[in-house]
Amino acid sequence: MTEREFLEKALDELLYQAAPLAEKELAEGSETPSDDGIAFSENHNEKMQKVLKAYKRKQRLKKMPSYIKRAIVALVVLSITAAIGIAGVDAWRIKVLNLFMDKSETHSAIDFKEGTPDETSTQAQDPLTDSVLGYVPSGFKAENSIGGPDYATLYFVNGDKNFRCDMRPINRRLFIDTEGATTEKLTIKDREAVLSKKETVIILVWHSEQYSFVISGNIDEKEIIKIAENIKK
């Protein structure tokens, strides 16, 4: 620090000490005017009211984003808390994020395309049952098969073992039991599929360009996957 810089700093320090004292002495030396004899005009009062109101408004606007931000944070916290409670019961729904589902008490409804399901476009014209499955585990016999040109429900039994294959146009809604189920993601014919296990029942869900499929039954998981991989549609 040069001598000049030092002295400038010293002068500044003196000023920081002296200026408040000078200000105080100046204030004490001047009379405090009272409001006696001073009457502000109505025009001035109105103008000042406007100035103060405008300032209040400005302050409120400044505050508003903070309120909103905090409200959003609070809502997010509440949502996360609620989601944690719900997630344990409905793990299935978390796994099927790419599908569109409505969950009721005992089943889940899956829409493979957005929008209201088309209930009238699936009237059967020609049965497709025979052409759906390319593989049936040995010993299983078809017990009940219904279908049309664009849908099929095939039910097979082998003693106490059974499985069922449902094929629907992609704009139809499927109902499956997911309550208390554990799920995992698979790939069937290059398509994402969801395998759900609940006690002895296994459910496999996926879709192609045109159809959605559900294979469910109390047979081995590998057999269900093999049936799925050999679907002809």
Binding site: L7, L15, A18, P20, L21, A27, P33, Y55, K58, R70
Partner: protein, 183 residues
């Protein structure tokens, strides 16, 4: 949640503070403005403009210390007095910066200072004797702690004018401190 909003200081009410300042100090401000302008309506305008200027330019209203009556009054009257001078100068086609330009440049030489126990008293006396144009920037800078930029905004003058006024005020002080030392 409401508790959190409260503890985060959301309810800090600066608008209330401005209203309190107006109600408490408007007469002092008016008196200062009237003493310059000798016109009731122009003095009222000065008071109003002073608050508009404070609201528009002061980022931190907290800096106005409500606890210290004389300091707050001094701050508000300084702003109001400067506005009154501006109005007066407009009426008379004078510009405070013109006056500044006319004053010969008197850059100070700190090496002339002799600091002794009387230095603070000397400076106090000199500040009290200063022309308002220099006194105001000195008080805003060294008593209220505003930066040159903030002073420029509050007094509606350029940064350069603030710097010049401070320099000339200091030159006056240095001169006084030198004389004091010779005595």
């Amino acid at each position: 949640m409401l508790l959190t909003l409260g503890t985060l200081g959301i309810n800090k009410d600066y608008s209330g503070k401005i209203e309190r300042l107006y109600n408490t100090y408007r007469y002092a401000m008016y008196s200062v403005a009237y003493s310059i302008l000798k016109d009731k309506f122009l003095a009222e305008d000065s008071v109003q403009q002073a608050f508009v200027r404070i609201i528009d330019n002061l980022r931190n209203i907290d800096k106005i210390d409500e606890e210290s009556f004389h300091k707050t009054r001094s701050f508000l009257t300084v702003i109001c007095r400067n506005i009154a001078f501006d109005i007066y100068n407009k009426k008379t086609n004078l510009n405070s910066d013109d006056l500044l330009q006319q004053t010969p440049d008197s850059s100070y030489e700190p090496s002339q200072i002799i600091i002794n126990k009387e230095s603070v008293r000397t400076i106090i006396n000199e500040i009290k004797k200063m022309k308002p144009i220099y006194q105001d920037v000195m008080l805003l800078r060294y008593s209220h702690g505003y930066s040159n930029e903030e002073i420029a905004m509050l007094l509606a003058i350029s940064n350069d004018s603030v710097r010049k006024r401070l320099e000339r005020g200091k030159a006056q002080l240095v001169s006084a401190l030198g004389k004091g030392a010779l005595k």
